[in-house]
């Protein structure tokens, strides 16, 4: 009733986990192994730690401006004009991010499930499906996240259990054969996989229990890191370091190697693909919602749902620009990385510092 539009702590945690685990999880083991070899797990751990300060900043900002979303109080802090520029950059970031995600998603589906269906159809239908939830409010999105989370966790556990017999942990050796200089490069690759949790900039405004919000956010990142670590360990255990470097999507190739005793379902890759659709949806839904909210704050409207549908053709157009998958990862991937740095690191930090000054001034 009056508890409407509130996000509970569990939901916040679930939001962080489900939005971060997106397209990154497919290629992460391979890209990090490319740079850091067997010790890739170190980069994953450090990457997770590196995210924490920014989560802290976002939480603190949420605390200072309780009840207002980032895109509203940002105007107060740095002034309307500058913030409109910030918002526009955010908007472009989300549009490109969504285009990237949906393109990779479409390619994966085409490779593993639907060979002959045109890419455009896959992309369009996915965008339509996510636009439905993009048009609702943050409460629906958090509920959805909380429902999808157990599915992801169960799939991970199933994944682990069935891979264990054929895993060869000696593949992790030798450890620590790396150049210290490679660590930052490894971390930056990992950082990109955590992208997606910017939704908390909006969700924190509706949080129910503000005292524990910070702890839950940290927990969210913690679990995400664990899931990434596990994925890395399993893929390297199954494939060995050489093969791992060669695979584009090692996490998926692994699935086809799992042999279920009892033979009820032989190729679990089908099941994993189904869960994969949910995982990507959990990342895209909040992203398209945020895009709509940004547009609504830019144009000063009350509701954001009007803006969601028009975004679809833009995102679709963007996603079809790169001509090949490698171009997607290289060109588009780099653009997303830079924009992500802006949206997670630069903008919140600037706003935080300026907000702190303002507070000091008014004291």
């Amino acid at each position: 009733m009056e508890k409407n539009n509130r996000v509970s702590n569990r939901q916040l945690q679930a939001l962080i986990i489900t939005t971060s685990i997106g397209v990154g999880i497919l290629s992460l083991p391979s890209s990090v192994a490319d740079i850091m070899g067997n010790t890739g797990w170190l980069a994953i751990l450090l990457g997770g730690l590196a995210i924490l300060p920014f989560i802290y900043i976002m939480n603190k900002l949420g605390e200072m401006y309780r009840g207002k979303i980032f895109y509203d109080y940002g105007k107060e802090v740095v002034g309307n004009i500058i913030f409109k520029i910030f918002s526009s950059i955010y908007l472009i970031y989300f549009l490109v991010l969504l285009a990237f995600i949906v393109r990779v998603f479409g390619e994966v589906i085409k490779a593993f499930l639907l060979d002959n269906t045109p890419l455009e159809v896959i992309i369009f239908t996915m965008l339509l499906a996510t636009s439905y939830i993009g048009r609702s409010n943050i409460e629906a999105i958090s509920r959805m996240a909380l429902i999808i989370l157990p599915i992801i966790i169960i799939i991970t556990i199933v994944f682990i259990l069935f891979s264990i017999p054929t895993l060869d942990f000696t593949n992790l050796l030798p450890v620590f054969q790396i150049n210290i200089k490679d660590i930052p490069r490894g971390m930056s690759t990992v950082f990109f996989s955590y992208v997606g949790f910017e939704i908390i900039l909006i969700a924190l405004a509706y949080i129910e229990d503000s005292e524990n919000a910070l702890k839950c956010s940290f927990n969210g990142i913690f679990y995400t890191t664990i899931i990434y670590l596990v994925t890395f360990l399993i893929t390297i255990g199954q494939l060995g370091i050489h093969e791992l470097k060669k695979q584009i999507w090692p996490s998926l190739s692994i699935m086809s190697e799992v042999e279920l005793p009892g033979f009820f379902i032989e190729n679990i890759d089908g099941m994993l693909m189904a869960a994969w659709v949910l995982i990507v949806f959990a990342t895209m839904g909040p992203a398209i919602y945020t895009g709509g909210v940004i547009l609504s704050s830019l144009f000063d409207t009350k509701k954001h749902d009007f803006f969601v549908l028009p975004m679809i053709p833009i995102i679709m157009g963007l996603s079809l620009i790169p001509e090949s998958l490698s171009q997607v990862y290289s060109t588009m991937g780099n653009i997303v990385k830079y924009l992500a740095v802006f949206s997670i690191v630069i903008a919140p930090t600037i706003i935080f510092i300026v907000a702190l000054f303002k507070e000091r001034k008014s004291l």
Partner: protein, 498 residues
């Protein structure tokens, strides 16, 4: 009957007014008496034959009145006072007696089954409570039978129904408020709640919605349901309905609100969530291990009911790689000479089952069951032997139908049925990916649904997870462990046993 026609002093005028309004209502009975020493003073009673308890009116109200007023002065006030005295002294045992000042109220009273007593020269009409009519006796509810548990079910009579609840909750905090809805039908609705458990906001919201109703007729609780629920477009119900008083009582004690509607044995319970729609009172009357297993099976059945035909289409037509090799080959062999693609097979068999289901509903009793068996068996068998349909399809369709009947709530199963078709269509277009899209769509819809302000997917999506509501949703832990009321109703009093 909009106007507030005042009551005239003269009996004849009033009688004329009333007879004009009730013209052509031949079941209205008018009886006039003369009382008083000189028999020159008129009284009249008006009632509708069949709606009143004849004995009560003639024996308990009229006779003492007539006897006592033989000796009275022809003074309306005296007569009226006398009447009240008679009641005070206990000669008339009418349990309710009141006065009304407009013709409308009198007419309303007559229509409800009370008797109007007009006294010549007196400007008010006296209403005697006299309701009594033919009603069904209490029987076992037909739609919800249990192996173990009480066998009394609600009837169409509001009073009987409220009594069934009163007998179970002997607590003064059980409140029963009466409201009337529907301009012409003036259906009585009783709002039941336990005052020190229920949440105020919820109660006020419900009351407001009831008061906002502006329709002609509310003939059944289903119509009421549609008028007050959050989203009537959705295929899923947001209000539970039941014929069982024990379900209602248990729900009231959880902080929910019950609406008993006159003339229907189906009582509404709100708010309803996904978790509660999957609960059945039988779970509490059997041992907890069995009940927990039964609940888990219900959830699995729910998934099967929605996904099975879609999965069949997706896997055979799009991704046979998902099947174990032997099964794939076997399936292929069974479909060799089948002329239709899997999609057509699936849709036509589903359609046939829907026909059977509808036919079964129309025909009740022995004919209905026979049709079910005959139809199912023979059509299925013949189809397989003719080679039109593959046997696996028949099995899937049959299992799906049976699975959807395991769900306690018929309306919820109907909602799932709707989505089953949606998912079949999605599966035929885009295979497994299509199914996932369909599920996403359904999931989003469920997640956005609210039941009187409470999120529909509640036990699974936030409220209550922290306090362990799942203990009573997915499994059923022993009663001792269920110390707290579920969270989703935001009850005032959380602890169940003190």
């Amino acid at each position: 009957m909009e106007n507030n026609i005042p009551i005239q002093k003269k009996l004849d005028e009033n009688m004329k007014t009333i007879k004009e309004i009730f013209i052509d209502c031949d079941d209205v009975v008018y009886r006039e008496f003369k009382v008083g020493v000189k028999q020159n003073f008129s009284l009249a009673i008006i009632f509708i034959d069949g709606l009143i308890d004849q004995d009560m009116v003639s024996d308990f109200a009229l006779r003492p009145l007539l006897e006592a007023s033989r000796y009275l002065e022809p003074n309306p006030i005296t007569i009226k006072d006398n009447l009240y005295n008679l009641i005070k002294d206990g000669n008339i045992s009418a349990s309710e007696i009141k006065e009304v000042e407009t013709i409308d109220e009198a007419l309303e009273a007559i229509l409800v089954g009370e008797t109007a007593l007009l006294i010549d020269g007196y400007k008010k009409i006296i209403i005697l409570s006299s309701r009594g009519w033919e009603k069904r006796s209490i029987e076992e509810p037909q739609t919800e039978t249990l192996i173990r548990g009480p066998r009394d079910g609600f009837t169409e009579n509001l009073k009987t129904n409220t009594v069934l609840i009163r007998r179970r909750i002997k607590d003064p905090s059980l409140k029963i408020k009466m409201i009337q809805v529907g301009k012409r039908t003036r259906t009585d609705v009783a709002v039941l709640y336990v005052d020190d458990i229920v949440n105020e906001d919820l109660l006020n919201e419900v009351k407001k919605r009831l008061e906002d109703i502006e329709v002609d007729s509310v003939l059944d609780s289903a119509i009421l349901e549609e008028l007050i629920e959050d989203n009537y477009i959705s295929p899923f119900p947001q209000t539970e309905n039941t014929e069982r008083p024990d379900s209602v009582s248990a729900s009231l004690l959880e902080g929910r609100i019950a609406l008993i509607v006159d003339n229907t044995p189906f009582v509404l319970i709100l708010p309803a969530t996904l978790g509660t729609l999957m609960q059945s009172s039988e779970d509490y009357y059997t041992r907890w291990t069995i009940a927990s297993i039964a609940r888990i099976i219900r959830y699995i059945a729910g998934f099967v009911a929605v996904l099975a035909p879609g999965l069949y289409i997706a896997i055979t037509a799009f991704h046979p790689g998902l099947l174990p090799t032997r099964l794939a080959f076997y399936l292929a062999s069974t479909r060799i000479n089948v002329p239709f693609p899997a999609v057509v097979e699936a849709f036509s068999m589903e359609l046939t089952i829907e026909f059977l289901r509808e036919a079964g509903t129309r025909l009740s009793g022995p004919i209905g069951t026979t049709i079910g068996i005959v139809g199912g068996l023979i059509i299925g068998q013949a189809a397989v032997e003719a080679g039109i349909v593959s046997p696996l399809m028949i099995i899937i369709v049959a299992v799906t139908t049976v699975a959807s009947f395991t769900l306690p709530s018929y309306e919820f199963a109907a909602g799932l049925r709707f989505y089953r078709f949606v998912i079949m269509i999605c599966a035929s277009l885009l295979g497994l990916y299509g199914i996932m899209l369909g599920l996403i769509f359904m999931g989003t819809h469920l997640v956005k649904l609210n039941s009187y302000g409470i999120p529909f997917t509640t036990p699974f999506s936030g409220i209550g997870m922290a306090t362990g509501d799942l203990k009573d949703i997915i499994v059923r832990l022993p009663i001792i462990r269920l110390k707290y009321r579920p969270d989703f109703t935001f009850p005032k009093d959380k602890k169940r046993n003190k």
